[in-house]
């Protein structure tokens, strides 16, 4: 029966939400995954270079039921700290999909996510002064 489900007219079978196994909400609370939250690689292999990359990655895939896009996120975050918005743009995936994937990585302990401080909660003016000085130096 399923043999007849897919044909050329059906278009590509893998749609973004197939990566998330149909989930549209992250298992991590939404508040943690602001567009400007930074995702920091925090896995068992924190080094920038993995001497035996492919084997370790296969093991990660098997251990945590991850899809290759999960590993893309970990790889990008090891190279530099990126925001949720930047990861979505880099991977060319909708933000919603990336949030779900990051939620999985959080659960697996492979990444950490910063919680952006709302401006009203900034401790004092010094951060805003730094922003102004930084902008003036552009």
């Amino acid at each position: 029966m399923t043999d007849h489900w897919f044909d050329d007219a059906a278009g590509p079978v893998v749609r973004p939400y197939a990566m998330t196994r149909g989930r549209t909400r992250s298992s991590a609370p939404e508040a943690q995954l602001d567009l400007i939250a930074l995702v920091i690689a925090d896995g068992p292999d924190p080094g920038p270079k993995d001497p035996d990359g492919s084997v370790a990655e296969d093991k990660l895939l098997a251990d945590h039921a991850l899809v290759p896009e999960h590993l893309d996120i970990v790889r990008l975050c090891r190279a530099s700290t990126l925001s949720v918005a930047e990861l979505a743009a880099e991977l060319d995936l909708p933000v919603g999909v990336v949030r779900v994937l990051i939620g999985d990585l959080l659960e697996a302990g492979l990444v950490r996510v910063t919680r952006p401080v709302p401006p009203a909660e900034l401790p004092d003016e010094s951060i805003l002064r730094e922003v102004i000085n930084g902008l003036r130096a552009l």
Binding site: L35, L38, D42, A89, G109, P119, D124
Partner: protein, 201 residues
């Protein structure tokens, strides 16, 4: 603050970078992406948000299936002030029907730029109303388009019925220094709007 496998209490974890965002709003084609591109250290990136909600008061979605899905693109850029301080700029979606996406963008924003074109001032009313109602500090930046008449800032303030404290600047969204000055104005305005403990106190 950090979630995940972070140290809680006691231990001195290395400070996490602070990220802030400024929104760039205004009517369609007023130069939002141009302004972001003029100051961003990266080529403006584009990300898509999938929209599944409908029916909020300001959506122009009457007559559309309640669960229809579409995607909306947001352009954004990044300015790394230093390793521990990063400013993101988000161009808001121009079409009014994507307003409900603004709520997420506006949440936690340091401030906003409302880009205006003197030939189509009314296009900026929506953004001004939005930020006024949410008490988000904003600067109005009049993008100097070739062939558009120039007006003094006071005429523009009157035409837009702006509060006295709202900065009104002329800018050229293509020019880095000009775009930068607009952002400086937003941050300064944000500092005045929400007085905090002076630095070092």
């Amino acid at each position: 603050m950090v979630f995940g496998r972070s140290e809680r209490g006691g231990g001195k974890a290395p400070a996490e970078p602070v990220t802030l965002k400024i929104l760039v709003a205004g009517g369609f084609g007023v130069g939002k992406t141009t302004l972001v591109g003029a100051v961003s250290e990266i080529k403006p990136l584009r990300t898509e948000e999938r929209l599944t909600e409908a029916g909020r008061p300001f959506d122009d979605t009457q007559g559309v299936e309640a669960k229809s899905t579409t995607t909306v693109a947001m352009d954004f850029g990044r300015i790394t002030i230093h390793e521990q301080l990063v400013l993101y700029l988000f161009g808001t979606p121009g079409q009014d029907r994507f307003w409900f996406l603004w709520d997420e963008l506006a949440n936690g924003a340091l401030g906003a730029v409302v880009l205006a074109d003197t030939r189509r001032l009314a296009d900026s009313f929506a953004a001004i109303d939005y930020f006024e109602r949410r008490s988000i500090p904003f600067t109005v930046a009049v993008n100097r388009f070739d062939g558009a008449d120039r007006y003094p800032a006071e005429s523009i303030r009157d035409a837009l019925d702006l509060d006295e404290g709202v900065p009104v600047l002329q800018c050229d969204a293509r020019v880095r220094e000009s775009a930068r000055d607009v952002l400086v104005s937003v941050v300064e305005h944000a500092m005045r709007a929400a007085p905090r403990t002076p630095a070092g106190a």
